[in-house]
Amino acid sequence: MTSVLQLLGMPEAAANHAKGIDELILYVHLLMASLFVGWLGYFLYVIFRFRKGANPKADYVGARSHTSTYLEIGVAGVEAVLLIGLAVPLWAKAVDNPPKPEEKPVEVQVMAQQFAWAAHFPGVDNQWGKQDVKFADRSNPFGLDINGDPAAKDDVAVVTEAFLLPVNRPVIALISSMDVIHCFKVPSMRVTQDAIPGLSIPVHFTPNKIGDYTITCAQLCGNGHSAMRGFFKVVSQEDYDKWYTEKSKAGGGSFE
Amino acid sequence: MEIPYTYKARPDTGLYNAKVGIWLFLASEIMLFGALFSAYILLRVSAPDGFWPDVALAWPRGLLNIPIGTFNTAVLITSSVTVVLAWAALKMNNFARFRWLMVVTVICAFAFLGIKSFEYNDKFSHYVVRLKDGKAVTGHLEVNGKHPGFWNFADQWSLGRLEAEKVEHIEIAVDPARDIHGHVKHVEGASHDHAKQKIATADIAFLGSYTPATHPFFAVYFLITALHGLHVLGGALVLAYFAFPGAKMWKTNPEQFTNRIEVGGLFWHFVDLVWIFLFPVVYLL
């Protein structure tokens, strides 16, 4: 199955939920392809057979069969199956079932700005530092109160370089933006979520392949839209822990 | 061929062209004002709880002048009844009565607009001042002993301007506690209504008049009432045209003329209808 989609150029999936999405894409395309091929075959046959030279006198009534009605019902049926069987449950899983605390999800706040992505982790104390818009600027997109709030001291804030995520652990990312609408899109993870100023919207996924990944921006956000990328690496739990404690120790929400 | 049914009803629909046209137009107007009302409601339900101006983005209530608004409502209702009576006068072949009823309608329309423009001006010179200690006060502003002029939309004060022009303090005639639900409150210590209060520029965190930039409520209020006002103006001009230059048609084609008045009246009633909703929604809620 994956091979068909890879043939079409889709990057290899690297998250647990991707399978469902890929399957849906595949099945819809199978439906489309069979309809298209069937219709096209019929179409070419008809315009050949009923060209004026071959059929000088048209038939007033034309087709008499009811195949088309069954076909239409069939299309509706398949769509309904895909809808109820795949699309709705997939979506429900994506938005209604965030990982439970027992699953030890990694929590990260992702902030978009023209034209970069930044990530913010609570640090080893697992406490989010206080944030206020009055502290926010380009280097401190999260508006962390570094000097005022002790909980902010060990927060990890990664502004330009790649951040790390552990493999096989659910990630909850809270997507937001400080200026215009951006869109957090990681093709390999099959994750897309608009970053809308004024809202912070959770997405979750479980990376399952170690590697380097790129975040692109999929919503026009100004003249730097095409260059707006972010990077993260999916690494083993040990590597992640090492990086995380180091970063957190460096303290003050270290800004690159 | 001539265009049929310009004033005679088409048998199967029972309507003449212009009547179909005006109802179509009104259907689209429903969507236009409907979208604006929807925007109002959406913004309002997502506004934070609490009382404006204590909470900067809570929804303000009771800021508009209810007696004036009530009076204006009555004016518009009157014009609505005069226009339908004018149409009835034509039906009864009484042109003289038609004309004076139409004149009354147009006068009402301009009275409405005139009153509205006073209300607008009142808002432009009404300010909210938020102090650095979190308190807030609303009232009429006085800078260097001067009130801002009439329709001073272009001549607005902001904190930036106060600082730029090195104004050290302003005076504000604090709003009376006219609101029975008590949500327009004043800074403690203001002893009586309309008491002037001196505020040092250095203490001010924000200063803005009741203009669209200050709060989404004002943005909505100005947008909807201005759009409604434009409708009133346009309608009034058309009705005035019917009453005088356009009335020539009464001699040549009275039936079509009567229809025109009916169509004009339908538009006018619609404008009234919008106001009937607008008034409670922006003035009272």
Binding site: G9, G20, L24, V28, M32, F36, F43, V46, I47, K52, A58, D59, Y60, V75, A76, E79, L86, W91, A94, V95, V133, A136, D137, D179, V180, I181, C183, R190, T192, Q193, G198, L199, T214, L220, G222, N223, S226 | M1, E2, P4, Y5, Y16, N17, V20, G21, L24, M31, L32, S38, A39, L42, L43, L57, A213, H215, P216, A219, V220, L223, L227
Partner: protein
């Protein structure tokens, strides 16, 4: 009636030399209230805009294929015209690319395709097909064109404002649209909004007029189910415009307030742009704009496609020489599409953070709307069965419309399922999807319509050979341009990428980038393929073969029962419709077509 009869005849004669009121140039061509003249005005203006929209996208395509290289010749010109910050060294800057993209979308949709389908064909053909002397409100009709024209001028003028045109996409999402040029409040975006207010007003005037005309001015015997399908399509389209545009007008006014008066309809609190906090009150909602925009935006795409299907149906019925199969089901499907198109809009907003319930609602309605579309298309397919199909330029375009719309429509399905849209959203897959419906779809219908009705409008036929050349070239290049975009979309290429995805794909997937080059070359080819058309179009006006009769295609509908070209007032005598619109090859009839107006 008597007086007008002779009047009409007098105009009908060629080379008329009357002594009575010969209208001057202005009242004849500029301030005419005749629906046919207005139709032609719309047609000419929108073809020019179509061409302009294409030039914009050509510059963009060049940039996509050769990031960092200046555009030959044109680049220098752009630098002169728009300044070196916009086109440094003949390159498109990111801002200029975005400007062109936004204006390409806006111009193509609002100034080219809708005006040509609704304004031009709708105006010219609808009254003729229902046997009406003109539109119900001729002066409103004229006003509609003039307002459209002013809107176009405003849009065009915005290219030369300091700071350039609108550059937040044709969707103009806030806050981007309000914060791109903070220093200059009266920027391109403001022009865009003012232009849109004009265009919307024009559409509203037009749609009131169309609906009133179709309801009131149908001639005797023209019952609802005897109306040509084209008229039905225009009727439903007019309703879409009438009821979907006002919310965008409201939204436009709100964004205008945000831009000019600093209000915060669409701006939330605490925006930090470029490292500085924005001095606005906040309290607005960016999603509100999107809802209001797409409340129009989705019906708008059916405004693009329904008249196109209408044209295609006329041409197909005529060239298969048989009635449309399932005419009634097509009419009902069109109405359901029209109705449903008002409640699917948020399928453009799946990824703005939607809960399961609302997303399920919108994807269900989206799937529902595909069913009537399938029914309409299927009916057209089946109409071919048993026909005696003539292949001329018009019918070739109409026939190839079907599979092209098929591809476009079918690729709408994976976008309509929200779970697959997670991957495909805002990628080139979307670009491919909608260009298949609007470019080889809608544009092919436009071409079919032009070839089909040209003889009625000018009294001369267009050249068939050039027409077929035009068809072959267009079909080939259209597919070469838009099919590869699906692949790019699968690869994860986002749209509106000024560098063509180079930053993302360089060293990762070179094919994605080489496809860019190929698409661009084919887009140039597509332009070249239009040359036969342009030559054909202009030369045929003057030297085309004169029509042999008023009804050169042996068609049944009423527009062919008028003199050619139709005089003021259209019909010599009041027409009567005695039968359905497509009585071709009626068994026992003396010829293979029985016009609607022929006495039984």
């Amino acid at each position: 009636m008597q007086a007008t009869d002779t009047h009409a005849h007098a105009h009908g004669q060629k080379g008329h030399s009357h002594d009575h009121h010969e209208p001057g140039f202005f009242s004849k061509y500029i301030f005419s209230t005749d629906h046919k003249v207005i139709g032609v005005q719309y047609g000419v203006a929108s073809l020019i805009f179509l061409f302009f929209g294409f030039l914009l996208v050509l510059a963009m395509r060049f940039q996509l294929a050769n990031p960092g290289k200046p555009i030959p010749v044109v680049g220098a010109l752009l630098e002169k015209l728009l300044g070196s910050d916009m086109a440094p060294g003949g390159n498109l800057s990111g801002d200029l690319y975005n400007s062109f993209g936004a204006m390409h979308g806006t111009i193509m949709v609002f100034l080219a395709i809708v005006p040509i389908l609704f304004g031009a064909f709708g105006n010219y053909v609808t009254p003729l097909q229902i046997g009406a002397p003109d539109m119900a409100f001729p002066r409103l009709n004229m006003a509609s064109f003039h307002v459209y024209f002013i809107g176009g001028v405003v849009m065009f003028a915005s290219f030369f404002t300091p700071g350039g045109t609108a550059r937040s996409g044709w969707t103009s999402y806030s806050p981007l649209a309000s914060v791109t040029d903070l220093a200059n409040r009266f920027d391109g975006q403001t022009y865009w909004l003012i232009g849109m207010v004009f265009l919307i007003t024009s559409s509203l005037l037009g749609s009131v007029n169309f609906i009133a005309t179709i309801i009131q001015l149908r001639c005797r015997g023209m019952s609802w189910m005897r109306m040509p399908f084209f008229v039905w399509a225009q009727f439903v389209t007019a309703f879409l415009l009438l009821l979907a545009f006002p919310p965008l007008e409201a939204a436009g006014l709100m964004q205008l307030m945000d831009n000019l008066f600093g209000s915060s309809f669409f701006l939330p609190q605490g925006l930090v742009v470029n490292g500085t906090a924005l001095a606005v009150s906040g309290g607005g909602s960016p999603l509100l704009w999107q809802h209001l925009f797409w409340f129009l935006g989705h019906p708008e795409v059916y405004v693009l496609i329904l008249p196109a299907i209408g044209i295609v149906s006329e041409v197909i019925a005529n060239n298969t020489r048989k009635p449309l199969w399932g005419y009634k089901s097509m009419v009902y499907s069109t109405m359901s599409v029209g109705f449903l198109s008002f409640i699917v809009w948020a399928h453009h907003m799946y990824l703005t953070g939607m809960g399961t319930k609302i997303a399920t609602f919108f994807q269900t309605t989206t799937m529902m709307i595909s069913i009537p579309s399938v029914i309409i298309l299927t009916a057209l397919f089946i109409s071919l069965w048993g026909g005696s199909i003539r292949f001329n330029a018009a019918s070739l375009f109409a026939l190839s419309f079907l599979p092209m719309f098929g591809i476009g429509g079918l690729t709408g399905l994976p976008l309509g399922f929200n779970a697959s849209d997670i991957y495909l959203h805002d990628s080139y897959y979307v670009i491919g999807h909608f260009h298949y419906v609007v470019a080889p779809g809608t544009m092919f219908a436009v071409f079919a319509g032009i070839y089909y009705w040209f003889p009625k409008i000018t009294g001369r036929m267009m050249n068939e050979t050039l027409g077929k050349l035009h068809w072959a070239g267009s079909l080939f290049f259209m597919n070469c341009v838009f099919a590869p975009m699906f692949i790019q979309g699968f690869k994860g290429m986002s749209r509106r990428m000024y560098d063509g995805g180079t930053t993302y794909f360089e060293g990762v997937d070179p094919t994605a980038l080489s496809l860019n080059k190929m698409i661009t070359m084919c887009a140039v080819g597509l332009g070249v393929a239009q040359l036969p058309f342009i030559i054909n179009f202009f030369s045929s006006i003057f030297v085309g073969k004169k029509v042999s009769s008023d009804n050169p295609w042996d068609a049944t509908t009423l527009e062919w029962a008028t003199p050619t070209p139709p005089p003021h007032g259209n019909f010599a005598s009041e027409p009567v419709a005695y039968r359905g619109p497509y009585e071709y090859s009626v068994p026992g009839a003396k010829s293979d077509f029985t016009p609607q107006s022929e006495k039984p």
